[in-house]
């Protein structure tokens, strides 16, 4: 009976030629999923907003420690990777398979570069004793402690999403190279793109909130 339902189901099927897909439904599901992601981060943004409101000074002091250069570089990296994903979809639509794959490779490189930057940033902070329960926090005001708590949680969760996005894109690349994704059947690629853009959008907010406001 499993085989049956596989034949039946559009959104989930392997995309054999005779099987009808419901691209629109699949896209809708992706968007709904993005909403849940948005609200997951939304809870954290709300916390950030509330604590920033309660401890405006502590937050400013803490944000001054951040290296806004690395933040800005990472922002550009993510924006560029968003561009390359969008280009890859456009290329796929034009049946330019090579270009599409190339663009995705570029996206993955950007993602990795982003993570490497994050790694150095985190290790720098941890080296300075700034981490939950770390020695540097002892001498800080409540606002600063909360700032760094949220900093780790939010950028950490975002980093996790970058990693998931990278895996998602890699899988899509396998599909493309096996011609499971074509110029008429690229909803999966589009969905991966949507996910990646969401990761980008979240960073668009994280960047000013953590790096710029001093």
């Amino acid at each position: 009976m499993t085989e049956h339902s596989e034949v039946m189901h559009q959104g989930e099927s392997h995309g054999g030629a005779h099987v009808h897909r419901d691209d629109e439904g699949s896209k809708m599901a992706m968007w709904l999923f993005l909403f849940t992601e948005l609200l997951l981060f939304g809870g954290l943004f709300l916390l950030y907003g509330a604590y920033r409101f309660e401890y405006a000074d502590g937050f400013k002091v803490a944000a001054a420690d951040m290296n806004s250069f690395i933040g800005a570089v990472n922002t550009i990296i993510l924006l560029t990777s968003s561009l390359s994903v969008a280009l890859s979809i456009a290329a796929m639509q034009r049946s330019q398979k090579k270009l599409a794959l190339g663009m995705l490779w570029f996206t993955i490189l950007c993602g990795i570069a982003f993570l490497i930057n994050k790694y150095f940033e985190w290790s720098h902070e941890i080296h300075n004793g700034i981490y939950p329960g770390g020695p540097a926090l002892e001498n800080m005001s409540n606002g600063e402690v909360l700032y760094f708590g949220l900093y780790y949680v939010m950028t950490g969760l975002h980093g996790l999403h970058v990693i998931i996005g990278l895996i998602f894109i890699s899988v899509i690349m396998v599909f493309i190279s096996r011609d499971k994704i074509t110029s008429t059947n690229f909803q999966k690629l589009e969905n991966a793109g949507l996910y990646w853009h969401l990761v980008d959008v979240i960073w668009i907010f994280l960047f000013p909130l953590f790096y710029l406001l001093h």
Partner: protein, 563 residues
């Protein structure tokens, strides 16, 4: 293909596909089998949690120690709450009967993402197992109450993390189901099934699914933060690090208040199915009932603060939340009045499902109306965190959704299992349940107003009389429930075969065999009218035989359905 024809001759229960026996269930992506697997899981945990409830009542029989120690009691009500909320009442109707009936009612062969559906069941089981595991390992089960308020939940030495982890995973499962349903309802309605031709159960599920998608992530992150605080000491809520415990309460209730409408909306949907069937008449005010579901879901997002009236929230906020709380009563009232009006000039066939529905309307109204006492500022400040609240939420949760779960089981029992139960015994059981229920929970209102706080292991002597009455009520209720399940279980084994449409229902599930075949329909039907029309046919079950081309014939309605 031979399989294809076979599939629609035997029922989904008998069908043998690639996998046989138990694997044929565990790997099945058929929405009906998944629904039944949910039913299995949910029944087990429901019984566990009910037993915990009865244990609490025994403990409260006398002041001081009766059968357990305070620490045990605290864990018992926590688990009772967590299991009831996350493992029983939230998934019960959507995941069991929603899964089973939604595709059939809209004329589809399955949900939009069958494999995701199965995945969601596995998530449910993982969450359930985590909840059970927390009982046995480490420092004992969580003792925080199902609300996990900080800072106690950060400080407690019990296994809070595993329990929150369980709730987290269950939340994920709930999101996946909701997402699947929204897409299914948007994309897979049969030709001609416009929005206002959908059965009201589908409307209820639609509203519910949106709450699941948009509210559940918030509790996910909140509980994850508790785990992070416990494991790594990340300061987010801990007041020792400057955190704000009230902010935690905001985040918790941002989800958990809308969640109470996740619990009740599907139940209200079933009420709107059962009433027209046994009234032999169209439902009164179809559109109002449909829209009020969305209204409840929407206003439900705006009232969470009523759980925090004494937490030290700002006065402005308390006033705003109190005002908004009262607005939820309006769409709920609209539903109640329309249901009662449906009975007017009907031709009522009195039967067990209808009896449960009448019980529901009475009991849920009490629960809802006492919700208004809680919504008003002055009175809530007196009765919050007392047994008044305990009584309120058992009236709406158990008396509302729980009773409707029983009604649903009776109503769709012939369809799901193809068997009939003994109607007379079912009615007797229902009577006992309603009597027991009120004896159990009504005294709690009185105690509550007298000032008996909730989550109390022990109590002052002046409350004992009411506690005894309440405990006696729990025994009556237990006998009613045991009797009811006994009756159904017997029917499952020995009941006579049910016909395709034993009640004279008008929605699509009554147009397919009992139990339904694997793919529900031989041909996708075409819908030509509303869901509860009794005096003429509104479905074309075999369009090809009538010479209608599903693609071309109904083009105009399709455009509307495309939304």
């Amino acid at each position: 293909m031979a399989n294809g024809s076979l599939a629609n001759e035997v029922s989904y229960l008998e069908y043998q596909g690639k996998h046989k026996g138990i694997m044929g269930w565990l790997l099945s992506v058929d929405h009906k089998r998944i629904g039944l697997m949910y039913l299995m899981g949910i029944m087990i945990f429901f019984f566990v949690a009910m037993t915990l409830g009865v244990m609490m009542r025994l403990e409260m029989l006398t002041p001081g120690e009766t059968i357990m120690k305070p620490q045990t009691y605290n864990s018992v009500f926590t688990l009772h709450g967590v299991i009831m909320v996350f493992l029983f009442i939230i998934p019960a109707i959507p995941a069991v009967f929603g899964n089973f009936m939604l595709p059939i009612q809209i004329g589809a062969k399955d949900v939009a993402f069958p494999r995701l559906n199965l995945f969601s069941w596995y998530l449910y089981m993982v969450g359930a197992i985590l909840a059970i595991v927390s009982l046995f390992i480490g420092d004992g089960p969580a003792d925080t109450g199902w609300t996990f308020y900080v800072p106690y939940s950060i400080r407690s030495a019990q296994n809070v993390s595993i329990t929150t982890m369980a709730a987290f995973v269950l939340g994920f499962s709930s999101i996946v189901t909701g997402l699947n349903f929204v897409v299914t309802i948007h994309r897979l309605r049969a030709p001609g099934m416009t929005w206002f031709r959908m059965p009201l159960f589908v409307w209820g599920l639609y509203a519910t699914s949106w709450i699941q998608v948009l509210a559940t992530p918030v509790i996910g992150i909140t509980l994850a933060l508790i785990m992070l605080e416990r494991f790594m000491g990340v300061g987010v809520f801990d007041p020792a690090l400057g955190g704000d415990p009230i902010l935690y309460q905001h985040l918790f209730w941002i989800y958990s208040h809308p969640a109470v409408y996740i619990m009740i909306l599907p139940a209200m949907g079933v009420v709107s199915e059962i009433l027209p069937t046994f009234s032999r008449k169209d439902i009164f005010g179809y559109k109002q009932i449909a829209i009020s579901s969305l209204g409840i879901a929407l206003i439900g997002y705006l009232v969470w603060g009523h759980h925090m009236f004494v937490s030290g929230m700002s006065d402005t906020s308390r006033i705003v939340f109190s005002l908004l709380t009262f607005l939820v009563a309006i769409p709920t009232g609209v539903k109640i009045f329309n249901w009662v009006a449906t009975l007017y000039k009907a031709s009522i066939k009195f039967s067990a499902p209808l009896y449960y529905v009448l019980g529901f309307i009475f009991i849920f109204s009490i629960g809802g109306l006492t919700g208004l006492v809680l919504g008003a500022l002055a009175t809530d400040i007196h009765v919050t965190d007392t047994y008044f609240v305990v009584a309120h939420f058992h009236y709406v949760m158990f008396g509302g959704m729980g009773i409707m779960f029983f009604a649903t089981m009776h109503y769709w029992f012939p369809k799901v299992f193809g068997k009939m139960y003994n109607e007379k015994l079912a009615i007797v059981a229902c009577t006992v349940i309603i009597i027991g229920f009120n004896t159990l929970y009504f005294p709690m209102f009185i105690m509550g107003y007298m000032g008996m706080p909730r989550r109390y292991y022990d109590y002052l002597p002046q409350f004992q009389g009411w506690h005894i009455l309440s405990t006696v009520g729990s025994w009556i209720l237990v006998s009613g429930i045991v009797f009811m399940f006994g009756n159904l279980f017997y029917a499952l084994l020995k009941g006579p075969k049910a016909s395709m449409n034993p009640w004279g229902g008008t929605t699509l599930e009554w147009k397919v065999p009992s139990p339904p075949p694997l793919e529900n329909f031989d041909e996708i039907p075409i819908v030509t009218g509303g869901p509860y029309v009794h005096d003429k046919a509104t479905y074309i079950m075999y369009p090809s035989k009538e010479g209608i081309n599903a693609n071309g014939g109904v083009k105009t309605v399709n455009q509307e359905a495309a939304l």
